[in-house]
């Protein structure tokens, strides 16, 4: 029938336009980064270091080129050696009981006092076993700056606020033991908010979740108390700014502002999406990320449940409406032709 043919033409041009301005345009505007499935083996870090060598080769000034190339080659060698060692430690069988003693060293900083240390408040480790990946924890204890892929910020990675851990826990077996302890004893049933606070909360606020870098903002009785608290938050933010070079953005509605692929790959390796950024890798496990993501969805897209509850009813209503309208139309047009 003619009307169907016209409908097909309209639908065709509409869909081509939609495809062009949505899926196709977005695929061209944003580079697609492959997720490493929350396993941390240094693959991306080594690739980035290799790319830096290629870039260095294109420098025209011979003097500068030699210097930069040298540094880039050394970086690549360091990265390869580092992640190879991590993989070695990963093969060792850890002893949780032995690890508990070494873990005391961690508590020197991760003591829950809420004191800023070198730029941020060290996160609580009560849930670290559920939140972080095993390989990543090994890497982190070996060298925090290398593990989180921000070593480019330091001449000496000892300067990282957690850098001294390198001198406290040194033997491969010792590392394996602490990690075994964390992976078996520091496990809880994570909730989305706790996952977010532990993994991201020391840097990022979430005002729709009523969170600042100092945690949940309590209700205050007087304006004075509220202002005093506000000043504390501002002081903390200043320290983070000094450490990171800028204040990390509030993540209230980041769920709507970034694609799922961006978020997932960015957390695993911020450098892959924003080369040179100061945000460190957060070595979340798959489950840990799912919890963080659930929290971001809750604050960023709070109406999801209500939408799915109401949607079918509205659509069924209009289907019935359309059927009745069709019957009315048929009766009105029956003796016209």
């Amino acid at each position: 029938m003619k009307e169907f043919k016209i409908l097909a033409v309209v639908a065709f041009f509409t869909l081509v336009t939609y495809w062009g301005v949505e899926p196709f345009a977005h695929s061209q505007m944003h580079k697609h980064v492959e997720s490493n499935n929350f396993s941390y083996d240094g693959k991306a870090d080594i690739e980035e270091a290799s790319k830096a060598i290629e870039v260095a080769k294109n420098i025209t000034d011979a003097n500068k080129k030699a210097k930069v190339l040298d540094a880039a080659n050394k970086k690549l060698a360091d990265k390869k050696a580092f992640w190879a060692e991590v993989s070695q430690v990963s093969k060792l069988k850890g002893n949780a009981a032995a690890g508990e003693a070494s873990f005391a060293a961690c508590m020197a900083c991760h003591n829950g006092s809420g004191a800023n240390m070198g730029g941020v408040i060290p996160p609580k480790l009560d849930n670290a076993g559920s939140l972080y990946d095993k390989n990543y924890l090994i890497a982190l204890i070996k060298d925090p700056a290398m593990a989180s892929n921000v070593d480019h910020k330091y001449d000496n990675t000892m300067m990282h606020p957690m850098g001294t851990v390198k001198t406290m826990i040194t033997a491969p077996q010792q590392i394996a033991d602490v990690v075994e302890f964390i992976k078996t004893k520091k496990v809880v049933k994570l909730t989305p908010q706790v996952a977010f606070e532990d993994a991201c909360g020391r840097c990022h606020a979430n005002r729709y979740g009523n969170l600042t870098q100092l945690g949940t903002t309590p209700k205050f009785k007087t304006e004075q108390e509220a202002l005093t608290h506000r000043v504390k938050v501002l002081d903390e933010q200043d320290k983070i700014k000094a450490y990171m070079g800028k204040l990390p953005p509030d993540l209230s509605i980041i769920d709507r502002a970034r694609s799922a692929n961006f978020m997932e790959t960015f957390i695993q390796d911020p450098q892959s999406q924003l080369p040179g950024t100061s945000m460190p890798r957060v070595g979340l496990s798959k489950d840990g990320y799912a919890m963080v993501q659930a929290y971001l969805e809750k604050t960023g897209d709070p109406s999801k449940e209500a939408r799915h509850a109401l949607g079918p009813w509205v659509i069924v209503f209009f289907i019935i409406f359309t059927m009745l309208a069709y019957l009315w139309k048929k009766s009105q047009w029956k003796d016209l032709h």
């Binding site: 062009g20 960023g300 009105q332």
Partner: protein
């Protein structure tokens, strides 16, 4: 003084007729407003536009009760207050956002229907011109609305588009066409800020909707005398057909009354439209709300890609591939070209484009060209995209220049 029936009961039919001529009005606007029978569902697009405009008004009224036109609170009043604290606020917001995007799809279908069937000429010029006026007003309405959430894209699109009012660059003819002062006058400041947001709020919720309503009435009035066109561009003898219809010879008559016969079909098409529309509202609203606009406005951080909403992309792409001053002229041309359509088409025929020889080719080329422009307008202006965009922009201009010549050669059918 006209004749009054003294005995008529207040508000009875007779009483109302004596005062408001309700029966006559009903006849003129509804039961004896004759529509050709030979039409397809594309003639329902006008009523769908009216209905979508209705949805925009109703959802907009609910939104404006909670929206705060203040650069400090605007973003959160939309993204937090309306989305979480207001009952069904999310529903009103998604209806408003999806309707604002879909209304343009329907406008384009409605326009291209008019172009395809030649409904813009031979007595229907005023319908077309008031329609184009509605297009411009809707564009302004959509643009001003886009400023309100005060996200990154609000701010930067506001910056880029208002910059266009500065005219030519300073080095062009000694700066004669450079009117930076106009840009600042429009913004009320050197850059978009509080003054800018307040005035676009006023435009969006007051002045533009008011003017749009007036022009919709004008558009409908412009339709009443020439009547709508039909699928074959035939000249219908409305008086004869109306007589036949009223005598009961509905089969022989070429017309139907607007109410209830034409309306029954409109409402059926509207039903299908609403099913699709609410599917989008509940399950696929993201296309109508750009992710970049969920980052709060930041005048110090330019987004990696700045692009307008999809319905402005074709004209944006006519601006972009040229050097700035040339592009501005091309852009100006694109804004007025469609207004001129009834006068550029020199053919005496009102018929579907496919039966009009060269004009048929012109029509499909124009449609495809605008889709190509739309897609290129969103892609980053690099390499091959730039070339395709440039060719498509030139094609658009050349097609309009050619129009009088190719329609002139058309023989009277």
């Amino acid at each position: 003084m006209a004749h009054f029936d003294e005995k008529a009961k207040p508000f009875s039919n007779q009483w109302m007729n004596d005062r408001l001529a309700v029966d006559t009005v009903k006849k003129v606007l509804s039961t004896e407003y004759w529509i050709p029978k030979n039409i397809n569902f594309l003639w329902a697009m006008g009523m769908i536009l009216a209905a979508t405009f209705g949805l925009l008004i109703v959802s907009g009224i609910f939104l404006v009760m909670y929206y705060q036109p203040d650069t400090k609170t605007a973003f959160d009043s939309v993204n937090y207050t309306i989305m979480t604290e207001v009952g069904y606020g999310w529903l009103w917001r998604h209806i408003h956002g999806v309707a604002a995007s879909v209304v343009f799809l329907i406008i384009y279908i409605h326009m291209f229907t008019g172009i395809y069937y030649g409904s813009y000429k031979k007595g229907r010029e005023m319908i077309w011109l008031t329609g184009m006026l509605l297009f411009v007003l809707f564009s302004a309405e959509a643009f001003s609305g886009y400023m309100l959430p005060w996200g990154q894209m609000s701010y930067w699109a506001g910056m880029v588009i208002t910059n266009l009012f500065g005219g030519f660059t300073k080095d062009f003819l000694g700066g004669i066409g450079n009117i930076q002062a106009l840009v600042e006058w429009i913004r009320g400041d050197y850059v978009p800020g509080q003054a800018f947001l307040s005035r676009f709020f006023m435009l969006h919720v007051f002045l533009l909707p008011l003017v749009i309503m007036g022009v919709i009435v004008l558009h409908f009035a412009a339709l009443r005398i020439p009547h709508v066109n039909n699928q074959d561009g035939e000249e219908v003898d409305f008086e004869k057909s109306a007589r036949l219809y009223k005598e009961g010879n509905k089969k022989e008559s070429e017309v139907i009354p607007f109410n209830p016969v034409f309306l029954s079909k409109d409402i059926f098409v509207m039903g299908i439209y609403f099913v699709l529309f609410f599917y989008l509202v509940f399950y696929h609203f993201e296309f109508a709300m750009d992710p970049v606009n969920f980052d709060p406005a930041d005048g110090l951080k330019t987004p990696a890609h700045i692009y307008p909403e999809w319905y402005f992309l074709w004209s944006y792409e006519i601006l972009r591939p040229f050097p700035f001053n040339v592009g501005l002229v091309a852009f100006g041309f694109a804004q007025v070209a469609f207004f001129l359509l009834p006068f550029l088409d020199r053919s005496p025929n009102v018929a579907p484009a496919n039966r009009r020889g060269l004009f048929g080719i012109w029509f499909w080329l124009m449609l495809i060209d605008m889709i190509v422009l739309t897609i290129m307008g969103k892609l980053p202006p690099e390499g091959v995209w730039n070339v395709i965009g440039f060719v498509a922009a030139l094609t658009f201009i050349i097609l309009f220049i050619l129009l009088p010549f190719i329609t002139k050669t058309e023989k009277k059918a």
